[in-house]
Symmetry: none
Subunit: 183 residues, 2 copies
DNA sequence: TTTATTTTAGTACCAGCTACTAACTGAAGT
DNA sequence: ACTTCAGTTAGTAGCTGGTACTAAAATAAA
């Protein structure tokens, strides 16, 4: 029975540190009501590095990356643009965009790429998405390079009908129709 | 002229640390060819904290932010769930989600909320989005609280037909149909 | 009861500092 | 020539949050 007490404590330790890596051994020993030596033995057993190393890891991991997530990279890079006619953008997928279980890129990244290209291609100061029909044909895996092509099919007063196709290599993985409304 | 040597060194110091905050005083003293005490006097004068504090700052700055952007907040909080039947989630929008020009929430945030709720409501280990039809009825502004309701309409072998409605207050701002495929 | 596991205690040592005192350098001021 | 003084260097004590190690105490299992 002592065995499970130890394992339970180690699980709690992992839990605490996953929620907040900025915790000293001292604080951990208080939270778990054991001596600081026990905490250190547990960390050793679990291969968890010391506070400073943990902080450094968090810092290093995010230092370069973070900037990207929030904006531009979510939508890809515009390569070619002919207003009111056509446009091309590319997006490199990575493992931050996937469902861990399946390694398949989450749908909203692909949607975001398509939507932003649809917005870019139309010659309107401000536009909003009205209607979208999407078809995910083949799941996209982390690391694959997406190429999106937009074609404006029709402009009816303030409504723009735009088709977006997304390929990986020469295979179509996604296609969609957007009706954008200028405001 | 001695004056400018000092100022120049301090500028170089700032430069080095801006490019890479992960540098010890020891390394700085080598790079700038002065004693470690001089480096410390310079840091004091410039109000630059020690290495560990700098690392911690980098980590802290990004840690909270990244967590939120990448996962939960983009998709909302699950309030109610009846597998294979219905589900409800909420999402507080903020000004990081909008087009600056218009203060209107970007479509992919709303799509992500809808898609993830559609995924949550179906009782399948792994599922991918197959087809989606979206209608954005009213633009959502920063600060508005979105309430998404999912209803599973039909289950046909491995395909799930799910409807998602998103409201602000009692007004429907978005509705969609998803066909999800279990894998 | 004996043995094994787990936990606690304690010491020496480390990096990377802060805080402080003191001495040295070198050029300018008068 | 001597003083002056900013700028630089040297050195010590003490801090945090550890590692690495030895040893003893507590608890459980045989």
């Amino acid at each position: 029975m002592r065995k499970s007490i130890k394992l339970l404590r180690q699980e709690r330790l992992i839990d605490i540190l996953e929620k907040d890596p900025f915790v000293t051994d001292d604080s951990l020993s208080e939270q778990l009501n054991v001596s600081i030596q026990t905490i250190r033995l547990d960390r050793m057993a679990l291969g968890i590095p010391e506070l400073r190393k943990r902080i450094k890891d968090v810092a290093k991991n995010n230092y370069d990356r973070v900037k990207t997530i929030s904006q531009s990279e979510i939508v890809g890079e515009l390569l070619d643009l002919e207003l009111n006619d056509r446009a091309i953008s590319i997006l490199d997928t990575d493992d931050t965009m996937v469902f861990k279980k399946t390694q398949i890129v989450k749908g909203h990244y692909i949607f975001a790429m398509a939507e932003s290209l649809a917005l870019a291609v139309i010659d309107a100061d401000v536009a909003i998405t009205g209607i979208a029909n999407l078809k995910y044909k083949i799941p996209v895996k982390a690391g694959e390079k997406l190429v999106a092509k937009a074609k404006v099919k029709q402009i009816k007063e303030m409504e723009y009908y735009v088709h977006i196709f997304i390929n990986v290599q020469d295979e179509q993985v996604f296609r969609s129709k957007f009706i954008m409304k200028a405001v």
